[in-house]
């Protein structure tokens, strides 16, 4: 079914600061007459008032969309939405933004950075045809990388809604997105790990112990990154120096990060702190980002500050972002758009700042957004797929909370599927138990399951370091780290 009525009234710019020319030409626009989408099964007819409604109803059943009141009312309506969505031309997503240009700087970013040249290979396709194009033998990593700047988050969210889990895995696996700072992340056949040594009181000794545990288990190539319990400048600088001292002392080819608010990192840099990566949680709408206390110009300012430190040795990707479905709804900033489409919009924000690391914290938000293991697994695959297709170096915090209908078996399933899908990195939390954030993620042991079962190797520079230090052998097997090993001389022999 094609959209039955496309509005054709040209919207005049009221403020004089309307959409840029490329969009004024195409955005002929008009939502004075709502374009409707329809599909009929025999005598049963389903009507969807606009594109965001169609997208929301086409998504798989999800507690957060039900909470927002945007989900399909029945499984049949869900399938009607998918039939209708399959026939929507990709161009429609350029003409009809799900959140108005005038209301949202993320929409403006998406529009203004869209490359018409890159879009050309898929410009004539519908969403359903785009799925087939993605799955085709002829579409390879080079073509996918080429088309990425021509894709918008809404396009990739739309196609993901038509895709089965196996499609999401297969296409993501074809995408290759690499990023560099002190090592190279995202190469085929490799998966990195963030050491996440959080502690409820930011106790430096306890944190150092967790970091050493992770290093001895061959983890830490993605980043050694602490979520601080206390977000202030002094504490942040203390923790940055703690990780930095370890990295320097053992010449570890990796990077540090304290996941404080971006304004805290800016102040730390102003005070001369050796900041490798600037972290920020981001979301897919301007209003949700405002609730996080950030906007695009603040992110740009922090990126410029981190770049000016020139601390990377093999690259200058200096940003680290975390995202997660449901954050916009949680902030009351969802504009009636489904949580998965909004999540994809966050990746448009991320890619603009050429990040080293981006990961969804997929099951952290709780069952009111992702109810159980099935919903968490699906969301993790969607998030990874959408980000990779948009050109974002995507990892995943494979995780759940104790009030979700999920357990470590569900995490093993998602972990395995992300391993197949070529996910850039996962989390390494001691024993998978984050004692500060009170949720379960993946552990230092979990990556060895993937190394053994799928042959996934660490980042090349880090792999060399592990081999040189006798922590892992060529067969990706851990080696016993003896008491006299130089890693274990810290922190005991410090000072």
């Amino acid at each position: 079914m094609n959209p039955s009525q496309q509005g054709t009234i040209v919207r005049e710019s009221i403020s004089g600061r309307g959409p840029p020319q490329c969009w004024q030409r195409r955005y002929r626009v008009c939502k004075f007459i709502m374009p409707q989408y329809r599909h009929s099964f025999g005598v049963r007819s389903f009507v969807f008032d606009d594109l965001k409604t169609l997208l929301a109803k086409a998504g798989p059943r999800r507690s957060g969309d039900e909470l927002a009141g945007v989900a399909a009312d029945s499984d049949e309506e869900r399938m009607a939405a998918r039939y209708a969505l399959a026939d929507v031309p990709l161009r429609t997503f350029l003409e009809d933004p799900v959140i108005p240009y005038e209301q949202d700087e993320v929409t403006r970013l998406i529009c203004e950075t869209h490359s018409r040249a890159a879009f050309q290979p898929v410009a004539s396709l519908t969403v359903g045809q785009f799925r087939e194009w993605l799955l085709s033998y002829d579409t390879d990593a080079v073509q996918l990388a080429g088309v990425a700047p021509g894709l918008t988050p809404e396009m990739v969210a739309a196609v993901s809604k038509l895709m089965r889990n196996q499609d999401l895995i297969l296409v993501a696996r074809k995408c290759q997105v690499t990023s560099r700072f002190r090592n190279t992340l995202g190469l085929p056949g490799r998966m990195a790990v963030r050491i996440q040594p959080n502690h409820p009181t930011d106790d430096p000794v306890a944190i150092a112990a967790s970091i050493l545990d992770g290093l001895c288990y061959g983890c830490g190539d993605a980043v050694i990154g602490i979520n601080p319990a206390t977000d202030n400048v002094d504490n942040t600088i203390l923790l940055i120096r703690l990780i930095g001292d370890l990295i320097d002392r053992y010449e570890i080819p990796t990077q540090s990060c304290v996941l404080a608010h971006v304004t805290t990192s800016l102040r730390a840099m102003n005070q001369g702190a050796p900041v490798d990566l600037v972290f920020q949680s981001i979301a897919g709408t301007e209003a949700a980002n405002t609730s996080f206390g950030v906007n695009l110009s603040l992110l740009a300012e922090s990126q410029a500050a981190a770049l000016s430190l020139k601390r990377g040795t093999v690259g200058d990707n200096v940003m680290y972002f975390e995202t997660g479905q449901g954050s916009c709804l949680s902030a009351g900033a969802h504009h009636g758009v489904d949580q998965q489409t909004l999540e994809a919009r966050a990746y448009a924000v991320a890619r603009h700042f050429r990040p080293l690391l981006v990961n969804t914290v997929v099951g952290f938000i709780g069952p009111e957004y992702l109810y159980d293991g099935k919903q968490i697994i699906r969301a993790g695959l969607e998030d990874h797929f959408c980000a990779k297709l948009l050109g974002v170096p995507m990892g995943c915090d494979v995780c759940y909370t104790n009030h979700s209908e999920a357990d470590q078996d569900d995490m093993d399933t998602l972990l395995s599927l992300l391993g197949m899908a070529g996910c850039n990195y996962i989390m390494g939390v001691p024993g998978a138990d984050d004692i500060m954030l009170n949720y379960q993620s993946t552990s230092f042991h979990d990556i060895h399951f993937l190394r053994q079962s799928l042959g996934l190797r660490p980042a090349p520079e880090f792999e060399d370091w592990l081999l040189r230090n006798g922590i892992m052998n060529q067969d990706l097997q851990l080696q016993p780290v003896a008491r006299g090993h130089r890693l274990l001389q810290s922190p005991h022999d410090r000072h």
Partner: protein
């Protein structure tokens, strides 16, 4: 053949509650650690699912000399509670009527509510917090409303309760999301001038109240300090800080400790 390779750095385990130096079989968890994790998760899940024994809590409140009343949120069962946080923030209509009647006993400087939240086990610590706090505040002349017990409540339901009672401050104790090692963690939230629509930035939180976390007696001291500060200054939320805590938590002393006491 070694089935388990122990980690030579197991002495570091004394430095943190994190699950470090677990050892490995190949690269995987030894069976003992696998079971230990499974037990912790089972306890946390049981804490989420355990029914809230309202009658027992009411009896305990009475024994402690505290008068109470039972309110209902718009949630009727555990599944709705998890799926619909918005319903857990609203009172049932009959509870509103009940509060209108209770308000006539006022005016109140403080109203208090207890909910199972995400861990009914956590409410076991509620009396240990409320009873001494009640005594302290009453001795200072506070007028305190009967304690409201609200199954399936979310934090923000304190706004509506406080608004109906016309209380200056609204305090809520409820079970927090259970962690693996902390299935019984109680949280205390309060807001000044409670009105429907207050944001989280308007609230103060004292979290992780349990014997192995922030002991109830310490929570009482903190709440006593903060509630008095909130009442005196007429504020709550991000602008109201625990100045005592800031003084005690100087990062430079922690840095020194790291250097001196590895």
């Amino acid at each position: 053949m070694n089935r388990v390779t122990p980690d030579s750095w197991s002495d570091l385990r004394g430095m943190t509650a994190a699950r470090i130096a677990l050892g490995r079989s190949g690269g995987s968890l030894p069976t003992a650690e696998l079971l230990d994790f499974g037990l912790a998760h089972a306890r946390a899940r049981d804490a989420v699912k355990a029914p809230f024994d309202v009658q027992k809590l009411l009896a305990d409140l009475q024994s402690a000399g505290l008068s109470s009343l039972v309110l209902r949120s718009a949630v009727e069962n555990r599944d709705d509670y998890l799926r619909r946080p918005d319903w857990g923030r609203r009172l049932s209509e009959s509870s509103r009527q009940q509060l209108v009647a209770t308000a006539s006993l006022g005016p109140f400087d403080l109203c208090c509510a207890i909910s199972d939240g995400l861990s009914s086990r956590a409410t076991d610590h509620a009396i240990a917090v409320l009873a001494p706090l009640h005594v302290l505040l009453m001795s200072e002349g506070w007028r305190i409303a009967p304690i409201a017990v609200v199954p399936f409540g979310r934090v923000a339901i304190q706004d509506e309760i406080g608004e109906y009672l016309g209380a200056t401050l609204s305090l809520m104790l409820l079970g927090e999301r259970p962690g693996l090692g902390s299935p019984d963690s109680l949280g205390a939230y309060f807001v000044h001038h409670p009105r429907v629509g207050k944001s989280d930035a308007d609230r103060n939180c004292v979290s992780n109240i349990r014997p192995a976390g922030l002991p109830p007696a310490a929570a009482v001291a903190t709440l006593h300090y903060l509630l008095n500060a909130a009442r005196t200054r007429g504020i709550s939320g991000v602008t109201l800080k625990d100045e005592r805590l800031l003084a005690a938590r100087d990062p430079s002393t922690e840095r020194a400790r790291f250097r001196a006491n590895p």
